[in-house]
Symmetry: C2
Subunit: 510 residues, 2 copies
């Protein structure tokens, strides 16, 4: 039997590449958290050099030579020698390394460096443009990044649409052909549900969430919840950034960020829980596999399922707040002493069409994604031009959510993704929402008394289940295979739709 | 005339190497400021990979081929073709690149990676050992690092002592033969001066500096002084770390750290001013030369001269506090309203043998260095064994300062340097002290009314003078050449000795 030991000459090289990539991640994290404004240009070049080096090393003759003795290039699978087979980890490792290698091999090294540099610059201009509400400031950089991403899709190759090539970067196996019916189903049931809710004469009062809440205490409470979730602060941190995110340099060093708004209690709270879900995945990867695909997360959709499961299925549930609400009241007695649990539960689950994706409720969230999916698909296919984005954005907001943002900062400029070149990333948020409920329903079947445990503040059984079922496997299975292994079925919008119909049916008495 | 344009194929390669080195510096900075404890092992490997890559690239055949057409390997100087000369920047650049290249070429790549990894680990163990006051915990790592540094000296080569090879890493041109007479002169005049002071019946009351001072306000005041010094916070930051330091990723991104002790006002204050002096040097380097020796600081001795000039010649002067003391009183009215300027000035200049180098007064400071110089020279020469360090340390403390530290944490474990492998670094602190006074005396000659300006809080003329005379030149001149260019003479202990004899003569009425 051939095992990972056979592959050591390969994994040693992969480890070096991963360390370079992790270093680049440290530089990006610092850029978002602590870097002084003037340092941006030099930083972009430093990150570009590291990413260029990692790319060069991945597509090197060394790696090609090693792979070619073990891999059938037409299938990307390990070659079984007569009387000698590969064990499952090694077979998966080879499959995934081949995937990374053959994809990277398609991109010229200079292109990789240029893309990294332009994205790093674009990101900084985007931050300014958003702060100043000036789409025009960002437009040239957006144009540059877009044309580079179209160029990239060309290098990567595709059958139907250049956008498919980019989707596959974030969610292996996903295509327009798979997403369009999924979004159609969601649209078909979510838009009528939303209309029903908006027309109900029920007013949920959530003004009390917008009182002044001390920033330091908000952060403290966020950390308390993260600790209860099992996030290990000896192997991670929580910092502030304009846009909350999670990044990992190793399973022993996972960085979460959040933002705090004195007059918006949910913002810090739910971004902590959300990023905490990502962080648990990254801390749950097996450190012995660091540097190999087995030590890497399987896809962004699965990653997002972890953050959304914690944020929504857990963090916006009655059970969760049964335990944590009295603690929140103790933390903010002046603001919450007269707000009972039912009012709080309704307020954090209030459905209301709004401008900002990251603050959207569970129901409208997917409509925000659908809008982005359609826009970026058309941008990449050349059917839409970047200068028309604000108008198209606002038009679709009207169509799906019935509202139009008053400024571009609250509209087309709100998200960092396009500045980073992450076209094809947004759909993974919806995949994450669907997978989250699919996984959570399964967890409820397999963990006896899960909701009772949660109601007692015991979140550890759930974390362990997720670690055992999902986190520790890295890229051993494809995302679809993993979903079937855990839940018995591929991605399925039904559990999510039933969940929101039941939850909001109760809250809005439909 | 051949110019920097001729050298572009070389400087392009150097720029890539510098970017990798800057990335490694970001990782080290993060390790000291924000990294969670559990991340240390992975971080050490990440830094080691980057340093190994930078080293490989510096000693590559590409660079050797480029240099060999321009450099005479026996002299390390640029070759003048008939009728064609190099301009001064290019000639200096070649001389310094050759210095770096030929030195790096002597070290095997695996050795560089091992050294980087062991130092990163040793540094983390040192931090624990210091916190727990357990020299024995650090001893194995110290032994490993020491033997690696002796191995390094062997690779680098030397005429008289392996320690000379290490000294030259930090202060080009310095040797035991140059330092021993310098320390002898200092010893000869400082020890008697110290005895005289200690025997004076004058008691300087500095207890009021050890009242509780709010940490946040201490930091605010530190930033206020840094801003007045001209430190540009758009191109730099101030953070907290166990041991204050300055690091730079580019002239547009310079990071200072300090520490804050509620019951020790001078600690944060003077470490801010000290690190600010370093930071001004790094911000004053010419960004167009980033990546080449012309964009790098000339030596640690000269670097330290900048920090000590600001910390001592300026920051512990009457003129400086004439302006800043009323502001300090306003910041801490409860603690300082009854302390007049004379008492404050005497308190911050109180001479008292003490255990901790970084808190030592200007007079005893060099005795702390002399002790370290003698110990590390003997360690590297194999005349002293690491296990004997605590005893030797305490013996020399008794001899030079008349006191013995009660714990190793306040003795041999206090400094980070040996854990980092920085043997040969300490003497640059004394060189810095001497250069600082030499430069400051020259500045007073050249800037009319300098002390009057300082007394009005105007520190900008001094910063500009330093930038023009020292910072902007990078490694254009050798440290000794620079000193002669600025002050008309090589390093000279006389200005320093006159300065301390005059200053303390007044304070202690000798």
């Amino acid at each position: 039997m051939k095992t990972l030991t056979t592959l050591e000459p390969l994994t040693t090289k992969l480890l070096e590449i991963q360390r370079i990539n992790s270093a680049a991640s440290v530089l990006s994290w610092d850029q978002e958290t602590y870097m002084p404004a003037g340092g941006g240009r030099a930083r972009a070049e430093q990150i570009a050099v590291l990413q260029g080096l990692a790319h060069q090393k991945l597509v090197s003759a060394d790696i090609e030579r090693l792979l070619s003795q073990w891999i059938d290039p037409s299938t990307g699978q390990a070659i079984d020698q007569p009387g000698d087979q590969w064990d499952e980890p090694s077979r998966s490792l080879l499959r995934e390394v081949w995937r990374d290698f053959s994809r990277a091999k398609k991109l010229p090294s200079e292109f990789v460096v240029t893309l990294a540099r332009e994205c790093s610059l674009a990101q900084q201009v985007w931050a300014q443009a958003r702060a100043q509400n000036r789409f025009g400031l960002f437009l040239p950089n957006l144009g540059t990044v877009l044309s580079l991403k179209r160029e990239e899709a060309g290098y990567l190759g595709y059958t139907y649409s250049p956008y498919d090539a980019l989707l596959d970067l974030y969610e292996p196996g996903s295509t327009i052909a798979m997403l369009e019916p999924l979004f159609a189903t969601l649209k078909e049931r979510l838009i009528p549900l939303l209309r029903q809710i908006v027309q109900r004469p029920i007013h949920i009062d959530d003004d009390f969430l917008r009182q002044p809440y001390d920033s330091a205490r908000q952060l403290e409470f966020g950390k308390l919840v993260l600790t209860a979730m099992g996030f290990d602060f000896d192997r991670g941190r929580l910092d502030l950034s304009a846009h909350p995110f999670t990044t990992s340099f190793h399973p022993t060093d996972v960085r979460l960020t959040t933002r705090v708004d004195e007059r918006d209690l949910p913002s810090c709270l739910f971004s902590c829980i959300h990023e905490g879900g990502h962080g648990l995945y990254d801390q749950g990867l097996d450190p012995q596999y660091y540097g190999t695909p087995l030590g890497d997360s399987v896809s962004l959709g699965i990653h997002e399922s972890q953050s959304r499961l914690w944020e929504n299925c857990v963090g916006r549930s009655r059970s969760f707040w049964q335990f944590f609400y009295p603690m929140l009241q103790q933390t903010f007695p002046d603001q919450l002493k007269d707000v009972n649990m039912d009012r709080f539960y309704a307020a954090i689950n209030c459905v209301r069409p709004s401008f900002i994706r990251v603050e959207a409720d569970e129901l409208t969230y997917n409509l925000h994604i659908m809008l982005r999916f359609e826009i970026e698909r058309d941008l990449i296919e050349g059917k839409t031009h970047p200068e028309d984005l604000p108008a198209i954005w606002n038009h679709k907001m009207q169509e799906y959510l019935g509202i139009v943002p008053p400024t571009d900062a609250e509209g087309v400029l709100q998200d960092i993704h396009w500045s980073l070149g992450s076209f094809g990333y947004f759909p993974t948020y919806t995949l994450g929402n669907l997978y989250a409920v699919q996984f959570y329903e399964q967890a409820k079947l397999e963990i006896p008394h899960l909701e009772e445990e949660i109601a007692q503040g015991q979140l550890i059984s759930l974390r362990r289940w997720l670690e055992q079922k999902i986190h520790r496997w890295g890229r051993m299975f494809t995302p679809d295979h993993l979903a079937r292994r855990v839940t018995g079925s591929s991605i399925n919008p039904e559990p999510f739709l039933s969940y929101v119909e039941k939850k909001y049916g109760e809250i809005y008495q439909l």
